[in-house]
Subunit: 77 residues, 7 copies
Protein backbone atom coordinates (compact mmCIF):
# COMPACT_ATOMS: atom_id res chain seq x y z
CA UNK A 1 0.00 0.00 0.00
CA UNK A 2 1.44 3.36 -0.99
CA UNK A 3 1.00 6.61 0.87
CA UNK A 4 -0.99 8.14 -1.97
CA UNK A 5 -3.61 10.69 -0.92
CA UNK A 6 -6.78 12.02 -2.66
CA UNK A 7 -4.96 15.13 -3.86
CA UNK A 8 -2.34 12.91 -5.53
CA UNK A 9 -5.12 11.30 -7.55
CA UNK A 10 -6.35 14.76 -8.48
CA UNK A 11 -2.84 15.80 -9.43
CA UNK A 12 -2.43 12.84 -11.78
CA UNK A 13 -5.60 13.93 -13.56
CA UNK A 14 -4.35 17.36 -14.58
CA UNK A 15 -4.74 17.74 -18.32
CA UNK A 16 -7.42 15.04 -18.48
CA UNK A 17 -11.18 15.24 -18.69
CA UNK A 18 -13.02 15.11 -15.36
CA UNK A 19 -16.62 15.03 -14.19
CA UNK A 20 -17.51 17.09 -11.12
CA UNK A 21 -20.75 16.36 -9.30
CA UNK A 22 -21.98 19.43 -7.41
CA UNK A 23 -24.07 19.60 -4.22
CA UNK A 24 -26.95 21.20 -6.12
CA UNK A 25 -27.23 17.95 -8.12
CA UNK A 26 -25.72 19.26 -11.37
CA UNK A 27 -22.48 18.27 -13.06
CA UNK A 28 -19.70 20.22 -14.68
CA UNK A 29 -17.43 18.48 -17.19
CA UNK A 30 -14.12 19.75 -18.53
CA UNK A 31 -10.35 19.47 -18.67
CA UNK A 32 -8.71 19.72 -15.25
CA UNK A 33 -6.26 22.60 -15.36
CA UNK A 34 -5.52 23.42 -11.72
CA UNK A 35 -6.68 22.90 -8.12
CA UNK A 36 -5.69 23.97 -4.61
CA UNK A 37 -5.89 22.64 -1.05
CA UNK A 38 -9.56 23.70 -0.73
CA UNK A 39 -10.35 21.56 -3.79
CA UNK A 40 -11.10 24.75 -5.72
CA UNK A 41 -10.77 23.56 -9.31
CA UNK A 42 -10.12 25.22 -12.67
CA UNK A 43 -11.67 23.53 -15.71
CA UNK A 44 -11.11 24.42 -19.34
CA UNK A 45 -13.58 23.67 -22.14
CA UNK A 46 -16.08 23.37 -19.33
CA UNK A 47 -19.70 22.40 -19.70
CA UNK A 48 -22.46 22.58 -17.13
CA UNK A 49 -24.69 19.58 -17.66
CA UNK A 50 -28.21 19.44 -16.29
CA UNK A 51 -31.09 17.12 -17.07
CA UNK A 52 -32.46 19.60 -19.57
CA UNK A 53 -29.47 21.28 -21.17
CA UNK A 54 -25.72 21.75 -21.59
CA UNK A 55 -24.13 25.18 -21.22
CA UNK A 56 -20.57 25.77 -22.45
CA UNK A 57 -18.04 27.92 -20.59
CA UNK A 58 -14.51 28.67 -21.71
CA UNK A 59 -12.99 28.41 -18.27
CA UNK A 60 -14.64 27.68 -14.93
CA UNK A 61 -13.29 28.19 -11.40
CA UNK A 62 -15.34 25.85 -9.21
CA UNK A 63 -15.33 26.54 -5.46
CA UNK A 64 -14.31 23.37 -3.64
CA UNK A 65 -17.01 23.39 -1.00
CA UNK A 66 -19.69 22.73 -3.65
CA UNK A 67 -18.16 19.46 -4.78
CA UNK A 68 -19.56 16.03 -3.89
CA UNK A 69 -17.08 14.08 -5.99
CA UNK A 70 -14.65 14.36 -8.87
CA UNK A 71 -14.34 11.53 -11.35
CA UNK A 72 -11.12 11.64 -13.34
CA UNK A 73 -12.44 9.48 -16.13
CA UNK A 74 -15.44 8.40 -18.11
CA UNK A 75 -18.61 6.91 -16.78
CA UNK A 76 -21.06 4.46 -18.31
CA UNK A 77 -24.61 3.91 -17.22
Amino acid sequence: MTNQRPFDTLNESIGNGVIIRLKDGQEVHGTLKAFDVHMNIVLENAEEVTNESTKKFGTLIVRGDNIIFVSPGNSSE
Copy 2:
Protein backbone atom coordinates in the same frame (compact mmCIF):
# COMPACT_ATOMS: atom_id res chain seq x y z
CA MET B 1 2.43 21.45 -16.32
CA THR B 2 2.77 24.73 -14.49
CA ASN B 3 2.12 25.32 -10.81
CA GLN B 4 -0.79 27.63 -11.57
CA ARG B 5 -3.56 27.64 -8.96
CA PRO B 6 -7.27 28.66 -9.12
CA PHE B 7 -6.54 32.09 -7.62
CA ASP B 8 -3.99 32.71 -10.42
CA THR B 9 -6.78 32.18 -12.94
CA LEU B 10 -8.92 34.62 -10.98
CA ASN B 11 -6.07 37.11 -10.86
CA GLU B 12 -5.62 37.00 -14.63
CA SER B 13 -9.32 37.90 -15.00
CA ILE B 14 -9.12 41.20 -13.14
CA GLY B 15 -10.50 43.92 -15.36
CA ASN B 16 -12.49 41.45 -17.46
CA GLY B 17 -16.13 40.49 -17.42
CA VAL B 18 -17.02 37.45 -15.28
CA ILE B 19 -20.10 35.40 -14.53
CA ILE B 20 -20.61 34.26 -10.94
CA ARG B 21 -23.07 31.46 -10.24
CA LEU B 22 -24.42 31.67 -6.68
CA LYS B 23 -25.63 28.86 -4.42
CA ASP B 24 -29.17 30.26 -4.49
CA GLY B 25 -29.23 29.50 -8.24
CA GLN B 26 -28.90 33.09 -9.44
CA GLU B 27 -26.05 34.73 -11.33
CA VAL B 28 -24.25 38.03 -10.98
CA HIS B 29 -22.36 39.42 -13.96
CA GLY B 30 -19.84 42.24 -13.93
CA THR B 31 -16.26 43.43 -14.28
CA LEU B 32 -13.91 41.71 -11.80
CA LYS B 33 -12.25 44.41 -9.75
CA ALA B 34 -10.81 42.64 -6.72
CA PHE B 35 -10.89 39.41 -4.68
CA ASP B 36 -9.32 37.96 -1.55
CA VAL B 37 -8.34 34.54 -0.15
CA HIS B 38 -11.95 33.78 0.88
CA MET B 39 -12.99 34.31 -2.77
CA ASN B 40 -14.87 37.43 -1.67
CA ILE B 41 -15.20 39.30 -4.97
CA VAL B 42 -15.78 42.93 -5.98
CA LEU B 43 -17.63 43.47 -9.25
CA GLU B 44 -18.21 46.76 -11.03
CA ASN B 45 -21.07 47.43 -13.45
CA ALA B 46 -22.67 44.46 -11.77
CA GLU B 47 -25.98 42.89 -12.72
CA GLU B 48 -27.97 40.32 -10.84
CA VAL B 49 -29.57 38.06 -13.42
CA THR B 50 -32.52 35.83 -12.58
CA ASN B 51 -34.93 33.98 -14.80
CA GLU B 52 -37.39 36.84 -14.61
CA SER B 53 -35.32 40.00 -14.46
CA THR B 54 -31.99 41.84 -14.43
CA LYS B 55 -31.12 44.28 -11.63
CA LYS B 56 -28.21 46.68 -12.04
CA PHE B 57 -25.82 47.57 -9.22
CA GLY B 58 -22.92 50.01 -9.44
CA THR B 59 -20.57 47.92 -7.33
CA LEU B 60 -21.15 44.57 -5.63
CA ILE B 61 -19.10 42.88 -2.90
CA VAL B 62 -19.99 39.18 -3.16
CA ARG B 63 -19.19 36.99 -0.15
CA GLY B 64 -17.09 34.04 -1.29
CA ASP B 65 -18.99 31.31 0.52
CA ASN B 66 -22.04 31.88 -1.74
CA ILE B 67 -20.17 31.11 -4.93
CA ILE B 68 -20.52 27.85 -6.88
CA PHE B 69 -18.28 28.91 -9.75
CA VAL B 70 -16.78 31.91 -11.49
CA SER B 71 -16.49 31.96 -15.25
CA PRO B 72 -13.96 34.49 -16.53
CA GLY B 73 -15.43 34.62 -20.00
CA ASN B 74 -18.53 34.32 -22.11
CA SER B 75 -20.90 31.41 -22.26
CA SER B 76 -23.07 30.12 -25.09
CA GLU B 77 -26.05 27.82 -24.76
Copy 3:
Protein backbone atom coordinates in the same frame (compact mmCIF):
# COMPACT_ATOMS: atom_id res chain seq x y z
CA MET C 1 -4.15 47.27 -11.31
CA THR C 2 -3.97 48.17 -7.63
CA ASN C 3 -3.81 45.72 -4.74
CA GLN C 4 -7.24 46.75 -3.51
CA ARG C 5 -9.19 44.01 -1.74
CA PRO C 6 -12.95 43.55 -1.05
CA PHE C 7 -12.62 44.92 2.48
CA ASP C 8 -11.05 48.09 1.06
CA THR C 9 -14.19 48.62 -1.00
CA LEU C 10 -16.24 48.09 2.14
CA ASN C 11 -14.06 50.51 4.05
CA GLU C 12 -14.57 53.24 1.44
CA SER C 13 -18.32 52.85 1.89
CA ILE C 14 -18.38 53.71 5.59
CA GLY C 15 -20.81 56.53 6.13
CA ASN C 16 -22.68 55.78 2.90
CA GLY C 17 -25.91 53.95 2.24
CA VAL C 18 -25.56 50.24 1.43
CA ILE C 19 -27.85 47.38 0.43
CA ILE C 20 -27.20 43.99 1.98
CA ARG C 21 -28.74 40.91 0.38
CA LEU C 22 -29.19 38.11 2.92
CA LYS C 23 -29.16 34.35 2.36
CA ASP C 24 -32.81 34.12 3.38
CA GLY C 25 -33.65 36.25 0.32
CA GLN C 26 -34.39 39.48 2.18
CA GLU C 27 -32.52 42.78 2.11
CA VAL C 28 -31.45 45.21 4.78
CA HIS C 29 -30.71 48.79 3.80
CA GLY C 30 -28.93 51.41 5.92
CA THR C 31 -25.89 53.55 6.53
CA LEU C 32 -22.69 51.51 6.90
CA LYS C 33 -21.18 52.35 10.26
CA ALA C 34 -18.69 49.55 10.97
CA PHE C 35 -17.58 46.07 9.94
CA ASP C 36 -14.98 43.46 10.95
CA VAL C 37 -12.98 40.64 9.34
CA HIS C 38 -15.97 38.25 9.49
CA MET C 39 -17.98 40.79 7.43
CA ASN C 40 -20.15 41.39 10.51
CA ILE C 41 -21.69 44.78 9.69
CA VAL C 42 -23.25 47.59 11.71
CA LEU C 43 -25.94 49.61 9.94
CA GLU C 44 -27.63 52.77 11.20
CA ASN C 45 -31.07 53.94 10.10
CA ALA C 46 -31.52 50.35 9.02
CA GLU C 47 -34.56 48.96 7.26
CA GLU C 48 -35.43 45.33 6.61
CA VAL C 49 -37.08 45.19 3.21
CA THR C 50 -39.20 42.22 2.14
CA ASN C 51 -41.63 41.81 -0.71
CA GLU C 52 -44.51 42.68 1.56
CA SER C 53 -43.20 45.27 4.00
CA THR C 54 -40.44 47.51 5.35
CA LYS C 55 -39.45 47.37 9.03
CA LYS C 56 -37.30 50.12 10.53
CA PHE C 57 -34.52 49.50 13.07
CA GLY C 58 -32.38 52.16 14.70
CA THR C 59 -29.19 50.13 14.54
CA LEU C 60 -28.59 46.63 13.21
CA ILE C 61 -25.62 44.31 13.76
CA VAL C 62 -25.73 41.84 10.84
CA ARG C 63 -23.75 38.61 11.23
CA GLY C 64 -21.42 38.25 8.25
CA ASP C 65 -22.19 34.62 7.45
CA ASN C 66 -25.75 35.55 6.38
CA ILE C 67 -24.61 37.93 3.67
CA ILE C 68 -24.73 37.13 -0.06
CA PHE C 69 -23.56 40.53 -1.21
CA VAL C 70 -23.20 44.13 -0.16
CA SER C 71 -23.88 46.89 -2.66
CA PRO C 72 -22.36 50.22 -1.64
CA GLY C 73 -24.63 52.25 -3.87
CA ASN C 74 -28.01 52.52 -5.46
CA SER C 75 -29.68 50.02 -7.72
CA SER C 76 -32.17 50.48 -10.53
CA GLU C 77 -34.41 47.83 -11.98
Copy 4:
Protein backbone atom coordinates in the same frame (compact mmCIF):
# COMPACT_ATOMS: atom_id res chain seq x y z
CA MET D 1 -14.58 57.90 11.26
CA THR D 2 -13.66 55.95 14.41
CA ASN D 3 -12.26 52.45 14.54
CA GLN D 4 -15.42 51.10 16.14
CA ARG D 5 -16.24 47.49 15.32
CA PRO D 6 -19.51 45.46 15.45
CA PHE D 7 -18.60 43.97 18.84
CA ASP D 8 -18.16 47.49 20.23
CA THR D 9 -21.76 48.23 19.27
CA LEU D 10 -22.79 45.02 20.99
CA ASN D 11 -20.78 45.95 24.06
CA GLU D 12 -22.49 49.34 24.35
CA SER D 13 -25.84 47.54 24.37
CA ILE D 14 -25.15 45.47 27.47
CA GLY D 15 -27.92 46.08 29.97
CA ASN D 16 -30.32 47.25 27.26
CA GLY D 17 -33.15 45.50 25.48
CA VAL D 18 -32.23 43.83 22.18
CA ILE D 19 -34.03 41.98 19.40
CA ILE D 20 -32.29 38.93 17.91
CA ARG D 21 -33.49 37.62 14.57
CA LEU D 22 -32.68 33.91 14.20
CA LYS D 23 -32.00 31.93 11.02
CA ASP D 24 -35.15 29.86 11.55
CA GLY D 25 -37.13 33.10 11.09
CA GLN D 26 -38.08 33.60 14.75
CA GLU D 27 -37.04 36.34 17.14
CA VAL D 28 -35.88 36.37 20.73
CA HIS D 29 -36.18 39.58 22.72
CA GLY D 30 -34.55 40.34 26.07
CA THR D 31 -31.97 42.25 28.07
CA LEU D 32 -28.43 41.75 26.77
CA LYS D 33 -26.35 40.41 29.63
CA ALA D 34 -23.22 38.97 28.01
CA PHE D 35 -21.68 37.84 24.72
CA ASP D 36 -18.42 36.34 23.43
CA VAL D 37 -16.33 36.34 20.25
CA HIS D 38 -18.61 33.73 18.60
CA MET D 39 -21.54 36.12 19.12
CA ASN D 40 -22.97 33.64 21.64
CA ILE D 41 -25.35 35.86 23.63
CA VAL D 42 -26.94 35.70 27.08
CA LEU D 43 -30.34 37.35 27.41
CA GLU D 44 -32.29 37.91 30.61
CA ASN D 45 -36.08 38.30 30.77
CA ALA D 46 -35.99 36.63 27.39
CA GLU D 47 -39.00 36.01 25.18
CA GLU D 48 -39.21 33.88 22.07
CA VAL D 49 -41.59 35.61 19.70
CA THR D 50 -43.21 33.81 16.80
CA ASN D 51 -46.13 34.77 14.61
CA GLU D 52 -48.48 32.80 16.80
CA SER D 53 -47.19 33.14 20.34
CA THR D 54 -44.72 34.50 22.89
CA LYS D 55 -42.86 32.16 25.24
CA LYS D 56 -41.03 33.55 28.27
CA PHE D 57 -37.66 32.27 29.48
CA GLY D 58 -35.80 33.51 32.54
CA THR D 59 -32.39 33.38 30.91
CA LEU D 60 -31.40 32.30 27.41
CA ILE D 61 -27.96 31.42 26.02
CA VAL D 62 -28.26 31.87 22.25
CA ARG D 63 -25.61 30.21 20.08
CA GLY D 64 -24.06 32.81 17.80
CA ASP D 65 -24.21 30.83 14.58
CA ASN D 66 -28.03 31.00 14.60
CA ILE D 67 -28.14 34.78 14.52
CA ILE D 68 -29.01 36.84 11.42
CA PHE D 69 -28.89 40.19 13.17
CA VAL D 70 -29.09 41.86 16.56
CA SER D 71 -30.93 45.13 16.94
CA PRO D 72 -29.96 47.01 20.07
CA GLY D 73 -33.09 49.12 20.10
CA ASN D 74 -36.74 49.28 19.26
CA SER D 75 -38.32 48.73 15.89
CA SER D 76 -41.48 50.19 14.38
CA GLU D 77 -43.39 48.78 11.48
Copy 5:
Protein backbone atom coordinates in the same frame (compact mmCIF):
# COMPACT_ATOMS: atom_id res chain seq x y z
CA MET E 1 -21.10 45.37 34.46
CA THR E 2 -19.04 42.26 35.07
CA ASN E 3 -16.94 40.40 32.50
CA GLN E 4 -19.22 37.40 32.60
CA ARG E 5 -19.40 35.41 29.37
CA PRO E 6 -22.01 32.95 27.97
CA PHE E 7 -20.01 29.93 29.13
CA ASP E 8 -20.00 31.34 32.67
CA THR E 9 -23.78 31.30 32.60
CA LEU E 10 -23.65 27.72 31.36
CA ASN E 11 -21.19 26.82 34.10
CA GLU E 12 -23.46 28.21 36.83
CA SER E 13 -26.22 25.95 35.53
CA ILE E 14 -24.37 22.68 36.07
CA GLY E 15 -26.51 20.42 38.20
CA ASN E 16 -29.70 22.27 37.28
CA GLY E 17 -32.43 21.50 34.80
CA VAL E 18 -32.02 23.05 31.35
CA ILE E 19 -34.00 23.24 28.13
CA ILE E 20 -32.08 22.92 24.86
CA ARG E 21 -33.76 24.03 21.64
CA LEU E 22 -32.30 22.21 18.64
CA LYS E 23 -32.01 23.41 15.03
CA ASP E 24 -34.41 20.68 13.88
CA GLY E 25 -37.10 22.41 15.99
CA GLN E 26 -37.20 19.86 18.80
CA GLU E 27 -36.20 20.27 22.44
CA VAL E 28 -34.23 18.15 24.85
CA HIS E 29 -34.71 18.68 28.57
CA GLY E 30 -32.49 17.35 31.36
CA THR E 31 -29.98 18.00 34.11
CA LEU E 32 -26.84 19.76 32.85
CA LYS E 33 -23.88 17.58 33.75
CA ALA E 34 -21.02 18.83 31.57
CA PHE E 35 -20.13 20.93 28.53
CA ASP E 36 -17.06 21.94 26.53
CA VAL E 37 -15.86 24.86 24.39
CA HIS E 38 -17.87 23.63 21.37
CA MET E 39 -21.03 23.81 23.50
CA ASN E 40 -21.21 20.01 23.36
CA ILE E 41 -23.45 19.24 26.35
CA VAL E 42 -24.06 16.20 28.55
CA LEU E 43 -27.54 15.89 30.02
CA GLU E 44 -28.72 13.37 32.58
CA ASN E 45 -32.34 12.25 33.01
CA ALA E 46 -32.74 13.60 29.50
CA GLU E 47 -35.99 13.77 27.58
CA GLU E 48 -36.51 14.54 23.92
CA VAL E 49 -39.73 16.53 23.66
CA THR E 50 -41.59 16.86 20.39
CA ASN E 51 -45.09 18.06 19.66
CA GLU E 52 -46.34 14.50 19.67
CA SER E 53 -44.32 12.66 22.28
CA THR E 54 -41.65 12.54 24.97
CA LYS E 55 -38.80 10.03 24.78
CA LYS E 56 -36.62 9.38 27.83
CA PHE E 57 -32.87 8.82 27.68
CA GLY E 58 -30.62 8.08 30.63
CA THR E 59 -27.77 10.26 29.41
CA LEU E 60 -27.47 12.35 26.27
CA ILE E 61 -24.37 13.89 24.66
CA VAL E 62 -25.69 16.73 22.47
CA ARG E 63 -23.36 18.07 19.77
CA GLY E 64 -23.02 21.82 20.18
CA ASP E 65 -23.53 22.77 16.55
CA ASN E 66 -27.18 21.62 16.71
CA ILE E 67 -28.11 24.03 19.48
CA ILE E 68 -30.13 27.21 18.93
CA PHE E 69 -30.32 28.14 22.59
CA VAL E 70 -30.01 26.76 26.10
CA SER E 71 -32.36 27.97 28.79
CA PRO E 72 -31.09 27.27 32.30
CA GLY E 73 -34.50 27.54 33.88
CA ASN E 74 -38.20 27.03 33.47
CA SER E 75 -40.41 28.55 30.85
CA SER E 76 -44.06 29.51 30.93
CA GLU E 77 -46.30 30.07 27.94
Copy 6:
Protein backbone atom coordinates in the same frame (compact mmCIF):
# COMPACT_ATOMS: atom_id res chain seq x y z
CA MET F 1 -18.77 19.08 40.65
CA THR F 2 -16.01 17.35 38.72
CA ASN F 3 -14.28 18.67 35.62
CA GLN F 4 -15.75 15.93 33.46
CA ARG F 5 -16.31 16.89 29.81
CA PRO F 6 -18.61 15.45 27.07
CA PHE F 7 -15.77 13.40 25.59
CA ASP F 8 -15.18 11.79 28.99
CA THR F 9 -18.77 10.58 28.95
CA LEU F 10 -18.18 9.22 25.45
CA ASN F 11 -14.99 7.54 26.60
CA GLU F 12 -16.75 5.76 29.46
CA SER F 13 -19.20 4.33 26.94
CA ILE F 14 -16.62 2.49 24.85
CA GLY F 15 -17.62 -1.14 24.59
CA ASN F 16 -21.26 -0.36 25.38
CA GLY F 17 -24.29 -0.01 23.15
CA VAL F 18 -25.09 3.53 22.02
CA ILE F 19 -27.80 5.25 20.01
CA ILE F 20 -26.73 7.98 17.58
CA ARG F 21 -29.35 10.39 16.27
CA LEU F 22 -28.33 11.83 12.90
CA LYS F 23 -29.20 15.21 11.38
CA ASP F 24 -31.16 13.52 8.59
CA GLY F 25 -33.55 12.25 11.29
CA GLN F 26 -32.39 8.63 11.27
CA GLU F 27 -30.64 6.66 14.00
CA VAL F 28 -27.73 4.27 14.02
CA HIS F 29 -27.36 1.82 16.90
CA GLY F 30 -24.29 -0.24 17.77
CA THR F 31 -21.39 -0.92 20.08
CA LEU F 32 -19.11 2.09 20.54
CA LYS F 33 -15.63 1.07 19.50
CA ALA F 34 -13.73 4.33 18.95
CA PHE F 35 -14.11 8.09 18.49
CA ASP F 36 -11.93 11.13 17.89
CA VAL F 37 -11.96 14.87 18.63
CA HIS F 38 -14.33 15.56 15.70
CA MET F 39 -16.83 13.12 17.28
CA ASN F 40 -16.21 10.78 14.35
CA ILE F 41 -17.41 7.45 15.79
CA VAL F 42 -16.79 3.78 15.00
CA LEU F 43 -19.65 1.41 15.76
CA GLU F 44 -19.58 -2.38 15.62
CA ASN F 45 -22.65 -4.55 15.09
CA ALA F 46 -24.19 -1.39 13.75
CA GLU F 47 -27.77 -1.01 12.59
CA GLU F 48 -29.33 1.88 10.72
CA VAL F 49 -32.86 2.29 12.04
CA THR F 50 -35.49 4.19 10.12
CA ASN F 51 -39.24 4.31 10.55
CA GLU F 52 -39.66 1.64 7.91
CA SER F 53 -36.70 -0.69 8.26
CA THR F 54 -33.49 -1.79 9.96
CA LYS F 55 -30.31 -2.32 7.96
CA LYS F 56 -27.35 -4.17 9.49
CA PHE F 57 -23.72 -3.16 8.98
CA GLY F 58 -20.71 -4.96 10.40
CA THR F 59 -18.78 -1.79 11.18
CA LEU F 60 -19.73 1.83 10.64
CA ILE F 61 -17.53 4.95 10.69
CA VAL F 62 -19.94 7.84 11.34
CA ARG F 63 -18.70 11.35 10.51
CA GLY F 64 -19.09 13.55 13.59
CA ASP F 65 -20.67 16.53 11.86
CA ASN F 66 -23.82 14.49 11.14
CA ILE F 67 -24.54 13.77 14.79
CA ILE F 68 -27.27 15.51 16.80
CA PHE F 69 -26.75 13.45 19.94
CA VAL F 70 -25.29 10.23 21.26
CA SER F 71 -27.10 8.32 23.97
CA PRO F 72 -24.88 5.83 25.79
CA GLY F 73 -27.78 3.79 27.09
CA ASN F 74 -31.27 2.56 26.48
CA SER F 75 -34.32 4.63 25.82
CA SER F 76 -37.97 4.00 26.61
CA GLU F 77 -40.94 5.73 25.05
Copy 7:
Protein backbone atom coordinates in the same frame (compact mmCIF):
# COMPACT_ATOMS: atom_id res chain seq x y z
CA MET G 1 -9.41 -1.15 25.23
CA THR G 2 -6.94 0.01 22.61
CA ASN G 3 -6.33 3.60 21.53
CA GLN G 4 -7.66 2.92 18.05
CA ARG G 5 -9.30 5.89 16.32
CA PRO G 6 -11.83 6.14 13.44
CA PHE G 7 -9.08 6.82 10.90
CA ASP G 8 -7.33 3.60 11.99
CA THR G 9 -10.47 1.68 11.07
CA LEU G 10 -10.49 3.46 7.72
CA ASN G 11 -6.82 2.65 7.22
CA GLU G 12 -7.40 -1.07 7.83
CA SER G 13 -10.04 -0.99 5.10
CA ILE G 14 -7.70 0.15 2.33
CA GLY G 15 -7.93 -2.30 -0.54
CA ASN G 16 -11.35 -3.56 0.57
CA GLY G 17 -14.82 -2.76 -0.64
CA VAL G 18 -16.63 0.00 1.23
CA ILE G 19 -20.06 1.62 1.18
CA ILE G 20 -20.23 5.40 1.57
CA ARG G 21 -23.55 6.98 2.49
CA LEU G 22 -23.72 10.60 1.30
CA LYS G 23 -25.65 13.51 2.80
CA ASP G 24 -27.83 13.75 -0.30
CA GLY G 25 -29.15 10.28 0.56
CA GLN G 26 -27.30 8.37 -2.15
CA GLU G 27 -24.53 5.77 -1.79
CA VAL G 28 -21.26 5.20 -3.56
CA HIS G 29 -19.67 1.75 -3.45
CA GLY G 30 -16.12 0.86 -4.42
CA THR G 31 -12.66 -0.25 -3.39
CA LEU G 32 -11.04 2.10 -0.85
CA LYS G 33 -7.78 3.31 -2.33
CA ALA G 34 -6.83 6.38 -0.29
CA PHE G 35 -8.12 8.97 2.20
CA ASP G 36 -6.85 12.04 4.04
CA VAL G 37 -7.50 13.89 7.31
CA HIS G 38 -10.62 15.60 5.87
CA MET G 39 -12.06 12.13 5.13
CA ASN G 40 -11.70 12.88 1.42
CA ILE G 41 -11.76 9.38 -0.07
CA VAL G 42 -10.57 7.81 -3.33
CA LEU G 43 -12.58 4.82 -4.56
CA GLU G 44 -11.73 2.55 -7.48
CA ASN G 45 -14.29 0.54 -9.43
CA ALA G 46 -16.77 2.98 -7.97
CA GLU G 47 -20.52 2.85 -8.45
CA GLU G 48 -23.07 5.49 -7.53
CA VAL G 49 -26.16 3.66 -6.35
CA THR G 50 -29.54 5.35 -6.20
CA ASN G 51 -33.00 3.92 -5.81
CA GLU G 52 -33.48 3.93 -9.55
CA SER G 53 -30.09 3.17 -11.06
CA THR G 54 -26.41 2.33 -10.76
CA LYS G 55 -23.77 4.43 -12.52
CA LYS G 56 -20.20 3.15 -12.87
CA PHE G 57 -17.12 5.34 -12.49
CA GLY G 58 -13.54 4.20 -12.88
CA THR G 59 -12.21 6.28 -10.01
CA LEU G 60 -14.01 8.65 -7.69
CA ILE G 61 -12.59 11.32 -5.35
CA VAL G 62 -15.32 11.91 -2.75
CA ARG G 63 -15.11 15.12 -0.71
CA GLY G 64 -15.20 14.24 2.98
CA ASP G 65 -17.77 16.80 4.05
CA ASN G 66 -20.49 14.99 2.07
CA ILE G 67 -20.11 11.75 3.99
CA ILE G 68 -22.57 10.53 6.64
CA PHE G 69 -20.86 7.20 7.21
CA VAL G 70 -18.46 4.71 5.69
CA SER G 71 -19.08 1.01 6.10
CA PRO G 72 -16.00 -1.10 5.47
CA GLY G 73 -17.96 -4.26 4.81
CA ASN G 74 -21.12 -5.77 3.49
CA SER G 75 -24.63 -5.02 4.63
CA SER G 76 -27.72 -7.19 4.70
CA GLU G 77 -31.29 -5.98 4.92
